[in-house]
Amino acid sequence: MTKYIIKRLIEIIPVVLGIAFIIFAILDMIPGDPARLILGQTATAEAVEQLRDEMGLNDPFITRFASYVKDVIFHFDFGNSYKSGQPVFAVILKRFPVSFKLALCGMIGSCVFGIPLGILSAVKQNTRIDNIISILAMTIVAMPSFWVAMMLVLVFCLYLGWLPSTGHTTLKEFILPTITISLANGCSVLRITRSSMLDVIRMDYLKTAQAKGVPKRVIIWKHAFGNALLPVITTVGSIFGSLLGGALICETVFTMPGIGSLIISSIKSKDIPVVMGALIFLSACYSLVMLAVDLLYAVVDPRIKAKYSSK
């Protein structure tokens, strides 16, 4: 098992390197001169040229990429932000806790919303309850997140005055963003839970459990859901991974300084080192989340655990 984990961790390196190369290439093709950007419109052409030399911008593409990778690996240096001059990694670390908390709350919220309804809908397949849940899920999916977020602000902040509309420190301030994220992502959890449960629900071992007198509640949650978990874990894992960097709408509406809004503002101001660093950081996070998903598989299903151990 440890061997498997180490192998997977090593595999992350080429993945992140590949992603870094692609991002580096794309950012390189964007028009605009970073030296000019740093020095401003009033700087002389000589000064710009001198800075370009110092930054190594006149070197060939591959040389620049190699020196970037070298700095990252040996000095853990992602460069400095063009805009603020601060080290990129420090900028990211400042933003990351907010994104992480938001993603975590969003993931838990999606599960709390999606899993019980998905199970209920599968158990009551083709009944009125199932239909109501399906219609509800479709309606929620069809509502744009920013609209939901604004409606929540309107109702809970303006009319009722129960919850704050901005902020990112107390738990209370996380409630509305969490609801927004959970509604949108919970529907995919709901759908995958339902279909995965339907695959399991006619299995013989549930009849065995029933025949030996196991209560219905235990049959549904332990026997059926225990076997329907794998696709649900995959979905929830990828939701978490993408929320880490992509809860942009929530970050914008509720003015939460997360990674998503950092990337967008950096792209707007052509702050290339920050964009680079943030994307590499996110891709590494995503790979780690996916590794965690695969390891959870082994916890849930002994057959998969056996496969991992034999490798």
Binding site: T208, Q210, A211, K212, G213, V214, P302
Partner: protein
């Protein structure tokens, strides 16, 4: 000792789908006596499994329903019990069931030990401690010939025959009075079949349970059962003691057909004699005898009027016009 344990009277079961109604079981009556083994024989789709599932009320929720008749276990009508009573008093405790395919009837993500433990846990009327129950798990596993230390393993680590032993261990954990075995050996290869059957016999002697054995294998019936019934299109066409069914003499043409489809080592034949034709469509059963279309002896009367049950001797009954009217002797071949 011949106390009647399970009594099914005139049972009718239908499967209702949006398009049609499938009449799976049509007026089945049977009795299982304590400590004895009753075999139900018949081809696929004859309603054997449906009958069994209905005893534990395991018919699919919305589609399958009992439309007539009674199932009594001792003096309790199974269908008048509440779901809770059914679960705590009958399922797994007084009656337990072994399913056809051991590959799919164990939960793949639970250890076999915990699956046996579950059966004990939900029928723990004496408030035994966890350790006591775990000891019983070990005991049951040893009983079916699996070392107790393998209880922490998962079903995928067992072979097919071993899995069926685990399934049997689950069924026997609470020492049920009646064990329903739905084709327990069909999915196993022949050597393992013999082992599993021998084990079931041994266990029956030790635990004293009655067995209701479903099979399409007449050899298994001969080896295991005290009494047997032959089912066709949801009806019992012939019933009796094992001697009644297996000795040549008066038989339902379908039973004779079944025997004709078994290879006989004494006579040199190239091909077996199958029963021509197919079972009638259970969505539109004919008015007359359900077997008339395939019966070599069918007459006009058979196609129009459904036969009534005729008792030939004390235990032997047949559902066929040929015996109700003239009692013509038909030999067994």
């Amino acid at each position: 000792m011949d106390e009647i344990l399970l009594k099914i009277e005139d049972l009718f079961i239908e499967y209702q789908t949006e398009l049609e109604t499938v009449r799976a079981v049509n007026g089945v009556s049977l009795e299982v006596k304590s400590g004895r083994t009753l075999g139900i024989v018949g081809e696929t789709g004859a309603g054997k499994t449906t009958t069994c599932l209905s005893i534990l009320r395991l018919l699919p929720d919305r589609t399958g329903r009992v439309t007539g008749g009674n199932i009594c276990f001792r003096d309790k009508n199974i269908y008048s019990l509440s779901e809770e009573e059914m679960r705590t008093q009958i399922c797994g405790e007084k009656i337990s069931m072994i399913f056809q395919d051991p590959m799919t009837s164990l939960n793949p993500v639970m250890t076999v030990g915990s699956q046996i433990y579950e059966a004990l846990k939900y029928h723990n009327h004496e408030n035994k401690t966890r350790e006591e129950l775990e000891r019983r798990v070990d005991e049951v596993l040893e009983l079916v010939g699996i070392p107790a230390e393998r209880k922490t393993e998962y079903p995928h680590q067992f072979s097919g025959g071993m899995k069926q032993r685990v399934v049997i261990a689950i069924a026997l954990a609470c020492e049920p009075e009646l064990l329903i075995a739905d084709e327990p050996t069909t999915a196993l290869d022949v050597t393992v079949q013999a082992q599993v059957l021998a084990m079931m016999r041994d266990l029956q002697k030790k635990v004293g349970s009655a067995i209701l054995l479903i099979t399409h294998d007449l050899g298994v019936v001969a080896q295991m059962c005290d009494d047997a019934l032959v089912m066709y299109a949801g009806e019992i066409v012939e019933s009796g003691s094992i001697e009644d069914i297996f000795t040549p003499g008066s038989h339902h043409p379908y039973t004779m057909g079944l025997f004709g489809a078994i290879p006989d080592l004494d006579s040199a034949v190239d091909r077996l004699t199958p029963i021509e034709g197919l079972m009638p469509d259970p969505t539109k059963l004919p008015d007359g005898c359900y077997f008339a279309d395939r019966c070599p002896y069918a007459e006009e009367l058979c196609k129009q009027i459904h036969p009534t049950r005729t008792s030939l001797s004390g235990t032997h009954t047949i559902l066929c016009h040929r015996f109700s009217e003239g009692l013509k002797e038909v030999s067994h071949e």
